[in-house]
Amino acid sequence: MEGMYAFSVGLLTACGVFLTLRGRSFSVVVGLTLLSYAVNLFLFASGRLKLNAAAVLGESEHYGDPLPQALVLTAIVIGFAMTAFAVILAMRARADLGNDHVDGQIPQPKSSLSQKTGGAK
């Protein structure tokens, strides 16, 4: 179970980082969402993975650590609000700047640029 869990968190993080490094704001927002999912799962695991362990004392033989669950709840709420904000901001940037690139302009490939200017600056 631990290996599977760690693999999922790692995969989510890798996808999140990859998408965050893309140039278009849509994939960046999706990347941030994936990263926040990975973070939530990771925080949950910091209290150790246990089967049949309730977070309330007296409900089962073993008990789980309730604190990571509280932390994850906080992180989910904050992450959700931030994602909503990032989406609205990306739409505003699309309207203000005229394209959805995070730098506000679509980079020209170098070869076509040098053709247009004849190689001079």
Binding site: G16, T20, S25, V28, L32, L35, S36, A38, V39, F42, L43, A45, S46, G47, R48, L67, P68, L71, T74, A75, I78, G79, A81, M82, F85, A86, L89, A90, R92, A93, D96, L97, V102, D103, G104
Partner: protein
């Protein structure tokens, strides 16, 4: 006053919420009056708290009576209280400036301002590292909205970068916290400091990873070298009151570095003792260097000020890397000085930009100022102070930092960099001042209007701090030394905050 130490968080929260409600929300004048009253109350409570902590010692406030390390605590100690007082003073002066018209350019300026102040104060006061994350998010989400205040292409673009970077930073923060909780089993800072000493060897690498992830996050906030690229653009495109309030934001990162890497991962951390120092020292030096290059290359006064913020961040990080009582004391003095003067300079740059028409704050020949005398005097005070020339506070701050170096190698690295950084600032400010004030084209335009008295009063209030810090330098350094001693005294900053735990 039992609840005094939570007031710096509660006052902005209550006023921020009230400003969103009907009797205040529709009328700009009522909002202004309510906001300034709220910040004045905050100022009084912050300075009263400062006085209380100095006379009665550290104040530990357990929320809901849950005793540490199980509940969330607020710790009003000499360091955090100094920064809360600084924030309150800064916020009051900046609001005094903003209520002259800058707050009309977008909606909800006053409530957002209040929530940001709440987040900053909370980050300084909290004694729990997860709570630190929560307050970081409070101040960040308010700052995202404030940054875009007023609108415009440039601002939208700068905000998009700032938001994405900080969201990634928040994810890293949570990863770091998860690792630290998983290995050490606690989130209370004092308890972490005690437990890290008895960490099992197999968990040491993991805990080190978590601790260094936190360094990345704090470095992002504090504009440490590879993570500083967002700063000049963000600060120079923000509207003036927002940029001035942001002067404290890098200091939140610096404060967290001091707190986490002096108390938790400091000398008593066993296998993890002083883990940040090998990273902090070279990065701090490089930050100063790149800031100095940025200063020389700045085309306008706002960008120049933003680069000066980077240099001051570098100097403070160098103090954190030296990691001695003298260095911490120097850093605290320099931090107060650099926050207030750079905030004043941001506001001054805005006044000057508005009187120069299309040239704005760029260093090019343009029309003369409407009020050259008062602006000239303020500009030279701000410049001398931030360069570090006597008789202003920058001089004392920089001398204290230079004196804090411990070995010859440290002096050989730090002295030239700080002095050359000051030289770069001196050159750029002389060039800027000459161009802005003397090389004008002579015809005074009728459309530029003089700055309002309250705006000038706000700038004077902020810049007055510089001579005041010199006149009361003795008291001030005595206080910062006491605060630094507290931070480095493990008994006081860890065990005394945990009732029932003794070494």
């Amino acid at each position: 006053m039992q609840h005094l130490s939570i007031l710096p968080i509660l006052i902005p929260l209550i006023f921020g919420a009230a400003l969103l409600l009907p009797p205040l929300s529709k009328h700009i004048n009522r909002q202004r009056i309510a906001a300034i009253i709220g910040l004045f109350l905050l100022l009084i409570s912050a300075f009263y708290l400062l006085y209380q902590v100095q006379s009665e010692g550290v104040h530990l406030y357990a929320l809901g009576e849950w005793q540490p390390p199980f509940g969330i605590v607020l710790v009003a100690d000499p360091v955090s209280v100094l920064l809360v007082a600084l924030t309150s003073f800064l916020a009051f002066s900046v609001m005094l400036y903003a209520m002259n018209g800058q707050d009309k350019n977008g909606a909800y300026f006053h409530p957002l301002f209040m929530f940001q102040v709440m987040g900053i104060n909370g980050a300084f006061l909290t004694g729990d590292i997860f709570n630190l994350f929560v307050f970081f998010e409070v101040l960040l989400i308010a700052s995202y909205a404030l940054l875009i205040h007023g609108g415009g292409k440039q601002r939208t673009q700068a905000t998009l970068h700032y938001v994405i970077l900080n969201l990634v930073g928040s994810s890293l923060f949570l990863f770091g916290l998860g690792i630290i909780y998983g290995t050490l089993g606690t989130l209370n800072m004092a308890d972490l400091a005690v437990k890290v000493g008895s960490l099992q060897a197999e968990n040491a690498t993991l805990a080190k990873t978590g601790a260094l992830l936190l360094l990345v996050v704090f470095g992002l906030k504090a504009a440490m070298l590879p993570l500083h690229f967002w700063l000049p653009k963000t600060y120079s495109s923000a509207s003036a009151p927002v940029a001035a309030l942001f002067a404290i934001m890098t200091k939140v990162g610096i404060y967290s570095i001091f707190r986490v890497y002096t108390v938790i991962f400091g000398e008593h951390a066993g296998a993890l003792a002083n883990i940040a120092t090998p990273w902090l020292w070279p990065l701090a030096l490089l930050t100063i260097a790149i800031g100095a290059v940025g200063i020389l290359a700045s085309p306008g006064l706002k960008t120049l000020t933003a680069n000066l913020v980077i240099v001051s961040s570098g100097s403070l990080l160098a103090c954190a890397a030296i990691n001695s009582e003298t260095a911490t004391s120097a850093a605290l003095y320099y931090l107060v000085h650099s926050t207030l003067v750079s905030a004043g300079l941001f506001l001054l740059a805005d006044i000057m930009a508005r009187q120069r028409g299309q040239a704005e704050d760029r260093f090019v020949r343009s029309r003369p100022f409407v009020q050259p005398r008062i602006l000239g005097i303020l500009f030279s005070i701000a410049a001398l102070s931030i360069i570090g020339m006597p008789p202003f506070s920058g001089f004392i701050g920089k001398v204290m930092i230079l004196q804090a170096t411990q070995s010859l190698a440290e002096s050989l690295w730090l002295w030239p960099l700080i002095l050359l950084g000051s030289l770069a600032a001196l050159i750029t400010f002389s060039r800027a001042g000459t161009t802005l004030f003397w090389r004008h084209n002579g015809n005074l335009s009728t459309e530029s209007e003089a700055a309002k008295p309250l705006e000038l009063a706000a700038v004077i209030l902020l810049l007055l701090a510089s001579p005041v810090l010199v006149i009361f330098a003795g008291d001030m350094t005595a206080y910062t030394q006491e605060a630094a001693h507290y931070l480095h005294d493990f008994q006081a900053s860890a065990y005394n905050l945990l009732p029932g735990v003794s070494p």
